[in-house]
């Protein structure tokens, strides 16, 4: 872990944005499963947070926490605007994230969000008529 995250988060509504980064064109199954566990943790815990998966060459803006495997540590640390980096192998990601969440809840930046409603997606054939409802978006 580097540059411990504290104080205010990037988003005005207090949403913690966590991105699990991977090397462009290569996504290990174990890393994907670790990402899905984080997503489930956030959903089941009811935290005001969003977890995304993205290649490190195409990261979304305003990331609070960037999690990467050790092979991408340099890239993660060089990414501008990231408040905290979690550099850990896939097996350790859940534990590192749990510790981070515990600290953020204790210190204040991370809050519990409203109970999410059911996700609804409406399609006509292959065409999406509405975006899949996303937590807190």
């Amino acid at each position: 872990m580097s540059s411990p995250l504290s104080g205010d988060l990037r988003h005005a509504d207090g949403l913690l944005v966590v991105v699990c980064g991977y090397r462009d064109g290569m996504l290990a199954n174990s890393w994907f499963r670790a990402y899905r566990r984080l997503k489930r943790t956030v959903k089941l815990g009811g935290f005001k947070a969003r977890v995304e998966l993205a290649p490190v060459t195409d990261l979304p803006p305003n990331i609070d926490v960037l999690a990467v495997p050790p092979s991408l540590a340099d890239v993660a640390h060089a990414t501008p605007g990231v408040l905290e980096c979690l550099v850990t192998p896939a097996e350790g990601l859940q534990q590192a994230f749990d510790q981070l969440v515990e600290r953020l809840v204790r210190e204040g930046p991370l809050e519990y969000g409203p109970t999410p409603g059911p996700a609804v997606a409406v399609h006509r054939g292959f065409q999406a008529l509405t975006e899949r409802a996303r937590l807190f978006d």
């Binding site: 064109g25 290569m26 290990a28 994907f32 998966l53």
Partner: protein, 344 residues
Amino acid sequence: MRGFQLHEPDTVAGAVELLATHGTRARPLAGGTDLVAGIMRDQVIGKGMPYPTHLVDVGAVPEMVGIRAGPEGAVIGAATTLVDIAESAAVRRWWPVLGEAAREVATSEIRAIGTLGGNLHQRPRCWFFRAKDFDCIKKGGDLCFAVKGDNRYNAILGGHLCFIVHPSDLATTLVALGAQARVASTGGDRSVWFDDYFLGPAQDLLRETVLRPDELLVEVVIPVPAPNTHQAWEKINEKDAATWDFALASVAAVMTIVDGVWQSGRIVLGGVAPIPFRAAVVEDALAGNDVRVALPEAVAEIRKIARPMRDNVYKLELVEYLIERVVIAALERGPVPVPTAEGP
């Protein structure tokens, strides 16, 4: 289709330099029947699968074209066309399993421009992956739509989070023949056994081979078949044989048999798993046994490891039937001759 830059290197070194420079935005191009006429035309893109903006045409690189066959084995350039492989006298005589597969790929027009490397590296078949509005795991999304959707063409073996099927007809034969891939990159060359060449979703969700974005398959090295080696290959399409279609199931069998008894060999399945799937359970059940006697029970072993989904149980029966049919066909044809310096 969006625009792209076409690069035409005339050496392998030049090609890998270009691939290293442009990373995942670059793709090697040979026949282009899948890359250009499939993936790019149909906009099969996602977060984990960027649109190729640089195509490196390796079709004119002399080191990558041609077939050299003799008593030491065969070396086939990755940019050799499928029609050249299908019509090679040496391949037809000494490695007929490869010739049969090359002859059955798609249509004669596609075989005339499609290449060995392109056939091995074509992207997988799954209609959710190929449809541009489904942001599936294989393209960097979150879901495999085949799990709850119509999964009649998806994998029954080796799927994990993603249930694509490997469509290559030639890949099964190269695994069965125990061939090796020679791979080039800016860091040097390396050889990879085809046993280890393909990656399923249990290892990597975005790649289907061990190649990194800066690596290029240059040629395929096929060993000499042992004495008493029998070979056969066959596929089953949904439509009739005269129509272009991908295999619902294919089987390549390369086996050493003496007096009807299985000594060693490989049975490799295509169209039913995310990678060319070696049916080791069937091989183990046949080992040391009279093939004709042990075959029905050996083939049923595949049921112990298969995990069919709602709509593709039929593939299990199909592949059992096909293994039996291909092994018997190989037996009845007799052993292939051992390569000699005199030529085929």
